[in-house]
């Protein structure tokens, strides 16, 4: 027998209470794990955004198009390094539910603007630039759909129609790209804007947005102002912002996620904290006589303090790790279906370590008061209490 055995026996003496306490903690960390992962995935675009990259969209709304001629005018602004543009294709593969993040782009400038995010072997790069019908797919997307270099693949659009009828375009997979950072999104595909222009039945010379890099992030504001002022009072006024701000604004279309997450997690934690703290205090109070006996037998007060605190920490860890494990399973399950919307949906080690720190904090906070009561317990008073 050891102190750990005593702790174990104390913990399990009322199995239903132990189960309910652990279950409450389980729920708290399930919420924490799942919701924090979601927030992290939503924020990934902001975190990974380059600080010298600006996005130009239609001032009315980013879903409204811009004339393609704007790209050249933007490139002429002093301090602009590279300019590229893209059009949202609304792509899917074979069935409408297999949605793909697919964009019609100007290939050469795309690879300049996103040189860190789109890394291609040289021969694949050359092949893609040389084949107007070619596409490049991210590693994750290619793995998900089973695409290999050289494959001929049909990709359909839920927005545009082919001038020869139907909604499907034929492409050749010319390259499979990765990112220079593992967090870079590789769940998308890009193809030639010119091929798209030649084959679509409507849409004209319009693009979705322009992305540019500046020679110096310090000039971002001036360049953005110059671009927007240049298109003021035109048929399509523009709104230029940094890529990070654009991503944030995009996310905020569905509400202030950060505030919602903070509210949910805080309320769950606060409720659990009160619940577990109350249960621990009750459990230790029930054992007043036994703690007095242990002290009488010669168990030192700090040793009993440690035992009570360890018990509380163990309960927090058992419930918390189980909850975090369940959150991981949910995230892994959701990953496949949500990959196109949230490519960075990963319960990573950072979130897990943060959750572990909260588990320890929960255990310490809820166990501290009962442990201190046990530490300070006077034997004579405890026996007199009955």
């Amino acid at each position: 027998m050891s102190d750990l055995y005593l702790i174990y026996k104390n913990m399990t003496r009322k199995p239903l209470r132990l189960f309910l306490t652990c279950f409450a903690i389980f729920i708290a960390f399930l919420i924490y794990g799942a919701v924090t992962t979601l927030k992290s995935a939503l924020d990934a675009g902001i975190d990974l955004a380059a600080d010298n990259r600006l996005v130009v969209v239609n001032k009315i709304n980013f879903t409204q198009p811009l004339p393609i001629a704007y790209a050249q005018k933007v490139a002429a602004v002093e301090g602009v390094e590279h300019v590229t543009y893209a059009n949202w294709f609304g792509g899917y593969y074979q069935e409408a539910r297999n949605q793909i993040v697919a964009m019609a782009v100007e290939p050469e400038s795309l690879l300049q603007v996103y040189e860190r995010e789109i890394v291609l072997p040289l021969e694949q790069r050359a092949a893609w630039l040389g084949n107007r019908q070619g596409l490049i797919a991210g590693k994750n997307l290619a793995q998900r759909l089973g695409w290999k270099v050289g494959d001929r693949v049909p990709v359909s659009s839920n927005i545009f129609s082919h001038k020869e009828g139907g909604h499907t375009w034929d492409f050749v997979v010319e390259g499979i790209f990765t990112g220079s950072d593992p967090q870079h999104d590789t769940n998308s595909m890009y193809f030639h804007y010119k091929y798209f222009m030649e084959t679509q039945s409507f849409g004209g010379d319009w693009i979705g947005w322009i992305t540019l890099t500046t020679v110096d992030p310090a000039q971002n504001q001036r360049i953005a102002d110059e671009i927007d002022n240049g298109f003021a009072n035109s048929q399509a006024e523009t709104d230029t912002s940094t890529e990070a701000a654009f991503s944030k604004a995009f996310i905020e279309q569905i509400g202030n996620i950060g505030l919602i997450i903070f509210g949910v997690v805080f309320m769950a934690f606060f409720t659990i904290l009160i619940l577990v703290g109350n249960t621990m205090a009750l459990a230790v109070r029930e054992r007043t006589g036994e703690i007095a006996v242990l002290k009488t037998l010669g168990f030192a007060a700090p040793r009993i303090f440690k035992m009570v605190l360890t018990e509380s920490l163990l309960i927090a860890l058992i419930g918390g790790l189980a909850g975090l494990g369940a959150a991981w399973l949910i995230v892994e399950g959701a990953k496949a279906t949500m990959a196109q919307f949230l490519p960075n949906l990963v319960l990573d080690s950072g979130i897990a370590l943060q959750a572990l720190a909260f588990m320890l904090l929960l255990g310490l906070v809820t166990g501290l008061l009962p442990a201190l009561n046990a530490l300070r317990l006077n034997i004579v008073t405890a026996f007199n209490r009955g």
């Binding site: 027998m1 005593l6 026996k9 006589g289 006996v293 037998l297 010669g298 168990f299 007060a301 004579v380």
Partner: protein, 231 residues
């Protein structure tokens, strides 16, 4: 000082403050207990019997005077030193047994040995010996709730003697038991005193129980009112 002297109380007083009033439990109390003695302490409720027992066991500290054990002062020890002293020298037997309900008999008996540096095997051997001594070898795996009051008190006695303390302090050890079972327990204490040389101090209300002791001290209003040799 006599080699046989185990405990000595010189001019010991104990009082506590309740509101603005200071209540004295006893004052200028003197007592000597020799090795191998079996002392019964009797007295009416509120006479200070349990307080005296707590003081002998280092659970409570005197307000004044000196308490010596084995030739060394213990009344001025710090709480942690007193805890260690208790673990090495004193075995406690309570009226309501005070066993840990979630541990079986053997585990309950093993508790004081967690405070020693004995190996697991040695601890197991000591537990078996203690349980055999109280006649409960076959009940080692039983939980307290599966045992009668007498059996639980025997487990408590095994717990008290397992670390071979010099002194056993018994607070109404038969107060919760019927006459026959009480006699069995008292015979066991007598055996531990007579055959194993354990020094025992027992607080009791029961004159029949006191007869098992070598001598009985009567405490009334904080003073020993008479001393008589019983056995």
């Amino acid at each position: 000082m006599s080699q046989d002297l185990l405990f000595q109380l010189n001019g010991v007083s104990k009082s506590f403050v309740k509101g603005k009033e200071e209540i004295s439990i006893f004052s200028d109390l003197n007592l000597t207990i020799e090795r191998g003695d079996f002392v019964a302490i009797m007295g009416p409720s509120g006479s200070g019997k349990t307080t005296l027992l707590n003081m002998l066991g280092g659970v409570d500290q005197p307000s004044g005077g000196e308490v010596s054990f084995d030739g060394a002062r213990v009344d001025n020890l710090s709480e942690s030193a007193l805890t260690r002293w208790r673990a090495h020298n004193i075995g406690f037997i309570f009226q309501f047994y005070n066993l840990m309900p979630m541990l079986n008999a053997a585990r309950n008996v093993e508790l004081p040995l967690l405070l020693t540096k004995l190996s697991k095997a040695q601890r197991r051997k000591n537990v078996e010996t203690a349980l055999a001594l109280v006649g409960l070898s076959d009940r080692a795996k039983h939980m307290p709730s599966e045992m009668s009051g007498g059996q639980q008190q025997r487990v408590a006695i095994a717990r008290a003697i397992v670390s071979d303390p010099k002194l056993l302090l018994c607070d109404e050890p038969t107060g919760d038991l019927d006459r026959t079972t009480a006699d069995e327990i008292l015979e066991m204490l007598q055996l531990l005193n007579r055959d194993h040389g354990k020094t025992i101090v027992m607080v009791t209300h029961d004159p029949a129980a006191a007869k098992y002791a070598n001598r009985t001290l009567h405490l009334d209003k904080g003073k020993f009112v008479q001393r008589e040799l019983v056995a």
